[in-house]
């Protein structure tokens, strides 16, 4: 049986990731000028919730960091601290460090080193002398409760629990005077929940309701507030517990908490007074422990639905955790977390189903049944169903690129600070969904490229000013779906690629002959050569000659391609084109010199049968074809793949007109088109490494293995020979 504690802990860390994501979002909003209280609250609540959860697991370093960060955000929230651009930068930095702390707690790795300096800078913004802050920290380290995790769990040894919590809280008698303002009701809050939560803090409490000058019904303003409650609490409860209950309504009520020695008089044990709650009551209790949010007044109109899971009765109400309402998990009640392994198993099974279906189709077709027979009709329905299942399964694996892009935000901040440049990251299309595996494997190449853009792509501030550009450089990271693939672009508004310098470096390094005459595109592509670097000075970020070649091979291993567009003075765009999934693709099954292979359908624009008039010779070895007013280079797949030599005549041959992301077209000669079908991708990388022109393999209906071609890569590595001659020109 799995360890329940480990599961809860894992679930906490998943929740942390969501909270960190909403934290980044809110900080981005603040950076874009948002100064409304809700945005600031989101930041505060995210940090607060992480702290609360961390406390439950005894993650002291995380708690300590989050606590001090939260204290600063609380100052902002209460309007005591103005938010300057410098402050926002620090908030971002602190959020990055918070994320490091979360990971360090999760992976039990050393805590980030520069936490203290960041916190001190933050606290300096508040005007706090650090030594005083440290002293306060000692005292206030107990002023929170863990978020909804007040479970009866053994947290191991005593030291592993919440520091000093048990030591500092003593039995006390506190009197809470609570007077709601009309705004409290207007914002959808209900005192009943608050009082219930308050009285649940301790077993012994008593309450008095005072109707303040309550007029008779005729003169009553039903929306005004006429009640003050006086609640006396005795037991293990301190003021911060109480304030936490009122955390979200403190601005819309009058709250007074006084300590008293006079604890005489009968105390009620509320739990005993209330009989076994009905199902709807339980739901209400759950509602009470959820934060009473000022953001969801509409929700208060609805009767509380019964099917809320019954809560464990002793859940501490103060454990509501400020940020929970902002966490996606709290909003999206209709989601479920599934172990990735299970999804992978499902994907594999669906892959097998597709292969099996293809085999079945093959058998049926070999049986020579009439097309309108029941078996054929049934098979067609089965194929459509398989396709639907496959699409649905793939959608489960698809995830938005947003978390990945958010990580890049941090890379930009760190990289720009390291090289002393002002850089703003603009993000577009972050909801674009891509297969989870693709996203995971994209992080490293993207990090390299972002760093490169900051370091090489953008000019120094003085050069930018001299060029009439704003001092702050802009890097735009975008994602979009384009013709069955996802295209991720990293665009900078820098100086563009210095092509003469690139060429010179390449010649110096012996990568190209000294007299080479290269096109702009070819010069740009030199950047991807191993060992190439144009940086005169090696910086901490780049210029060591490793990077872009590694980036390209990583992208290629994902079945993707990378291209460069650059304009001097305007900037550079790196485009990464990736398959949406690494599991299946729609392909055209073709025959080349007796070999069956698959060409991805997404790369095929059209197919054509060549006539003599279409084919034009270009040089001694190459042909182009004339299609729709354009000349397109002709590649003979049989010859390029080494299955046979070139043909003497291509008249009557079938050509697949393919397009690359950069718009380049090429015509691939095949011997026959067999069918169009969905194929399951079986990677070859692990066994054979990268094979030029081959993306992967698949298993066909008859059990044969067929190679899946990568037309763009194939063309890049092709000779282009479609004619025989004694000498050769570069293809």
């Amino acid at each position: 049986m799995s360890d329940p504690m480990a599961e809860i802990r894992a679930s906490f860390f998943i929740e942390c990731e969501e909270l960190l994501e909403s934290l980044q979002d809110a900080l981005n909003d603040m950076d874009d000028g948002a100064s409304d209280s809700e945005t600031i609250n989101v930041v505060f609540r995210a940090v607060h919730s992480i702290k609360g959860g961390a406390g439950a697991f005894g993650l002291d370093a995380l708690v300590a960091f989050a606590h001090r960060y939260e204290t600063v955000m609380d100052e902002v929230r209460s309007g005591k601290m103005a938010v300057s651009p410098e402050a926002i930068k620090l908030f971002f930095h602190a959020a990055d460090l918070l994320s490091d702390h979360v990971r360090s707690a999760r992976d039990q790795t050393p805590v980030p080193a520069d936490s203290e300096s960041c916190l001190q800078e933050l606290e300096a913004l508040m005007g706090i002398d650090h030594s005083a802050a440290a002293a306060e920290e000692e005292v206030s380290s107990d002023d929170f409760q863990p978020m909804g995790l007040a479970l009866d769990l053994d947290f191991g040894d005593d030291d592993g629990g919440l520091p000093s919590l048990d030591d500092t809280i003593q039995d006390s008698v506190l009197v809470v005077s609570f007077t709601p303002k009309p705004e409290l009701y207007a914002s959808g809050n209900e005192p009943l929940h608050l009082i219930r939560a308050l009285r649940a803090l301790t077993e012994e409490s008593k309450i008095e309701t005072h109707f303040n000058a309550l007029p008779p019904l005729e003169q009553l303003d039903p929306e005004a507030s006429y009640i003050t409650w006086s609640i006396t609490l005795r037991g293990d409860v301190d003021e911060s517990d109480i304030r936490e209950v009122f955390d979200f309504v403190e601005d819309v009520c009058e709250l007074e908490i006084t300590s008293t020695e006079d604890d005489s008089g009968p105390f009620e044990v509320l739990a005993e007074l209330i009989s076994e709650p009905t199902l709807s009551d339980e739901a209400e209790v759950t509602a009470a422990i959820e934060p009473v949010s000022v953001n969801e007044p509409a929700a208060r109109d609805e009767p509380v639905a019964a099917p809320t899971p019954p809560p464990s009765p002793p859940v501490a109400p103060s454990a509501s955790g400020g940020g929970r309402q902002s966490s996606p998990s709290a909003e999206a009640g209709a989601t479920v977390r599934v172990d990735l392994e299970r999804i992978d198993r499902l994907v594999n099974l669906v892959g097998e189903l597709v292969i099996n279906q293809a085999m079945l189709a093959q058998s049926v077709s070999e049986a020579g049944l009439p097309p309108n027979s029941a078996v054929m009709t049934g098979l067609e329905a089965f194929m459509m169903l398989t396709r639907d299942i496959q699409d649905s399964v793939m959608m489960i694996r698809a995830q938005p690129v947003k978390p990945l892009f958010q990580r890049m935000g941090r890379i930009v901040r760190e990289a720009s600070a390291a090289v002393g440049k002002e850089v703003k990251l603009k993000v577009e299309g972050e909801t674009t969904e891509v297969d989870k595996t693709v996203i995971e494997r994209l992080a490293d190449p993207l990090t390299h490229m972002i760093r490169n853009s900051v370091d090489h792509g953008l000019e120094t501030p003085d050069k930018r000013l001299a060029a009439g550009k704003p001092e702050e450089g802009v890097i735009t990271l975008s994602a979009q779906h384009r013709s069955g693939r996802v295209v991720i672009e990293i665009e900078d508004d820098g100086a563009g690629i210095n092509r003469p310098k690139v060429l010179q470096k390449a010649i110096e390094k012996g990568l190209v002959p000294a007299d080479a005459s290269l096109s702009d595109g070819e010069i740009d592509n030199l950047l991807f050569l191993p060992g190439f670097s144009t940086a005169d000075q090696v910086s901490a970020l780049s210029g060591r000659g490793v990077g872009m070649d590694v980036v390209r091979s990583s992208i290629q291993s994902l079945g993707g391609r990378i291209t460069i567009q650059s304009e001097p003075g305007k900037g550079t765009i790196f485009s990464i084109s990736l398959p949406l999934t690494l599991a299946v693709l729609d392909g055209m099954v073709v025959n080349v010199a007796g070999e069956t292979m698959v060409v991805p359908l997404s790369s095929i624009l059209e197919t054509t049968t060549l006539t003599q008039g279409d084919i034009r010779a270009l040089g001694p070895n190459t042909n182009v074809i004339h299609v729709r007013g354009e000349f397109v280079p002709l590649y003979d797949l049989g010859a390029e793949l080494g299955y046979r030599g070139t043909k003497s005549d291509y008249e009557g041959c079938i050509a697949l007109l393919t397009a690359q992301e950069n718009g380049t077209r090429s015509a691939l000669i095949v011997d026959a088109i067999m069918e169009q079908r969905q194929v399951v991708i079986k990677g070859l990388q692990r066994s054979y490494g990268h094979i030029p022109g081959v993306a992967a393999a698949t298993i066909l209906g008859d059990g044969q293995i067929a190679l899946i071609l990568d037309p763009a890569d194939l063309v890049q590595n092709a000779t282009g020979h479609t004619r025989t001659a004694d000498f050769a020109l570069a293809g």
Partner: protein, 91 residues
Amino acid sequence: MTSLPLDPKVDLSKVTTLAATLKSHAGADLVIDASEVTQVGALCLQTLAAAAQSWRASGHSLTISPRSEAFDESLLVFGLDLDDLQSTEAA
């Protein structure tokens, strides 16, 4: 005697209607049926208390019956006695 059903949940959006409905029954004995109530919020509470005050002043009875468990439980949480919301004056 008129029996007035109370909504399952009276909040800001419904309390004005409740007050108006109660006013329209002023000057006569009234029974409020709270059997469907899932929660007595503070606004509902003060309206009922104000009504009880008026009914007492006019010498009419105001009774809350039958009551759901949730109704009674809400009163317990608020620390109120049922009599705070009723008028036992006979007409």
